[in-house]
């Protein structure tokens, strides 16, 4: 196989927090839309500094998921919130089940 090797070392920059504008940029959405996700409780900043909100990298994928659910399935924001909560719960239960099964 003609595999190409890329050595990547993560700098501190990759683990730092994102501002709302940076999150919008990473998700390629308008900051106002991100703000409305926050207002709706779909997205929680990990830190708040006065008016400024800060998010972790997980928020980027969460925003992408929100957008996919809205676009692909036509779900509204309340529906998205329910789906996100339920899938997270499902995921946790699957992992617990996996762990118990692996011990047999």
């Amino acid at each position: 196989m003609n595999a190409e090797w890329n050595m990547l070392v993560l700098s501190r920059k990759d683990s730092r927090l994102l501002t709302l504008e940076e999150l919008a940029d990473a998700a390629r959405l308008h900051p106002d839309l991100i703000q409305s996700f926050v207002d709706f409780g779909l997205l929680e900043p990990v830190r708040q500094d006065g008016q400024h909100l800060f998010f972790d990298m997980e928020a980027v994928l969460r925003v992408r998921t929100i957008q996919r659910l809205r676009r692909d399935l036509g779900v509204n924001l309340s529906g998205v919130a329910v789906i996100l909560d339920l899938t997270q719960r499902l995921r946790r239960m699957q992992q617990e089940l996996e762990w118990w099964r692996s011990r047999r």
């Binding site: 196989m1 003609n2 595999a3 190409e4 090797w5 890329n6 050595m7 990547l8 070392v9 993560l10 990759d14 683990s15 990473a26 390629r28 972790d56 990298m57 997980e58 980027v60 994928l61 992408r64 998921t65 996919r68 659910l69 676009r71 692909d72 399935l73 789906i83 899938t87 499902l90 995921r91 699957q94 992992q95 996996e98 762990w99 692996s102 011990r103």
Partner: protein
């Protein structure tokens, strides 16, 4: 590699005579069922969803559906497919494709689709069209040892790269590039070596800038997002965000009399004291022996005692247990408050 025929009607589970409305209904139902975001951890759902999107892209568009139907009903899914004469010239006239594609969630259709309807990218590139590459998400399975000590892991992805033959334009000598079928991109395995920082957790996200799909024109590549998935460990179970739990098998006399035992941790075995009179199911805490945090400190390790008896008693053991049974005044069951014996 030969292009395989895809039966779009079978994928949507509708007859070839289905109306536009029936097709839409079938698509919506299946899309809900197989959407990757509502099927966490199910890799097959994503492929199924891609197929559905592709089928719907074709069958929901009257023009594309007509062209697909023109191939005739005698094709079997999976057989080698070569487009009939005349298809080459038919690539023009789908000018709106680029935008419709960009809006799709998976963005990637099969070679079969590209062979029939592809080529939009070449037309765009020729007009100086530039668009940043798509971001890519992938799972990064890690075991607890990797997370505890930090690690360098290699992962192989089916990544899109700019087609070398046509330089990403999709065109070669003003004809559709034979290598990438006009898409300007080729898929091939790409191996990345990724350093895992200490302190990542389940669902943590690591971003590798510029490692997503290549852009068109002079636009930059997208980013690659790796979502950490913690593999089940044979000994430890993650509790909350930083704590671990371990089930420790102990002999009855070890808990009755107390004593020192050796306990495995992610950083090697440590000694622990079991207080005399400990009970089965009881959790003892080893402070700071859980998972390391990103900055300083670590969570705790909870050691849950599980009392075991020898599966087969020797004559001596049997005698001692019988003696204990005869002399002990211990009553482990007291159901009197509930009226039981």
């Amino acid at each position: 590699m030969a292009v395989k025929f895809k039966d779009y009607y079978a994928l949507l589970n509708v007859p070839r005579t289905a109306t536009a409305d029936e097709i839409k209904k079938a698509y919506r139902k299946l899309a809900r069922q197989y959407h990757p975001d509502v099927n966490p951890g199910d890799a097959t759902a994503e492929d199924k969803f891609k197929d559905l999107n592709e089928a719907y892209e074709v069958l929901s568009d009257a023009e594309k559906r007509r062209r697909y139907d023109d191939l005739g009903p005698n094709w079997q899914a999976g057989v080698d497919f070569t487009p009939p004469p005349g298809w080459e010239g038919a690539r023009q006239g789908f000018g709106d494709f680029g935008e419709r594609f960009a809006g799709r969630s998976t963005g990637e259709f099969s070679d079969f689709f590209e062979t029939l309807f592809g080529g939009f990218r070449g037309a765009r590139a020729g007009a100086g069209f530039a668009m940043r590459g798509a971001d890519v998400e992938a799972e990064l399975p890690l075991n607890l040892e990797d997370i505890e000590h930090g690690a360098t892991r290699t992962l192989t992805l089916q990544a899109a790269e700019r087609c070398v033959n046509c330089g990403g334009s999709g065109l070669q000598h003003e004809r559709v590039c034979p290598v990438c079928h006009g898409t300007g991109m080729v898929r091939r395995p790409k191996t990345l070596s990724v350093h895992i920082p200490v302190g990542v957790r389940e669902a943590s996200v690591i971003r590798l800038a510029g490692q997503g799909e290549p852009g068109t024109g002079n636009a930059p590549a997208g980013d690659l997002y790796l979502r950490v998935r913690v593999l089940p460990h044979p000994l430890f179970f993650v509790v909350g965000s930083d704590d671990l739990q371990l089930e420790l098998p102990v002999a009855p006399w070890e808990v009755a009399l107390g004593g020192r035992v050796t306990v495995p941790t992610l950083d090697g075995p440590v000694e622990m004291t079991i207080p005399a009179g400990s009970q089965g199911g009881q959790r003892l805490r080893l402070r700071g022996k859980g998972m390391r945090r990103q900055g300083d400190g670590a969570g705790d390790l909870y050691v849950k005692l599980k009392i075991m008896v020898p599966p087969k008693l020797t004559a001596d053991e049997r005698e001692l247990f019988e003696k204990l049974a005869a002399t002990s005044g211990f009553r482990p069951r007291d159901f009197s408050t509930r009226g039981e014996p």
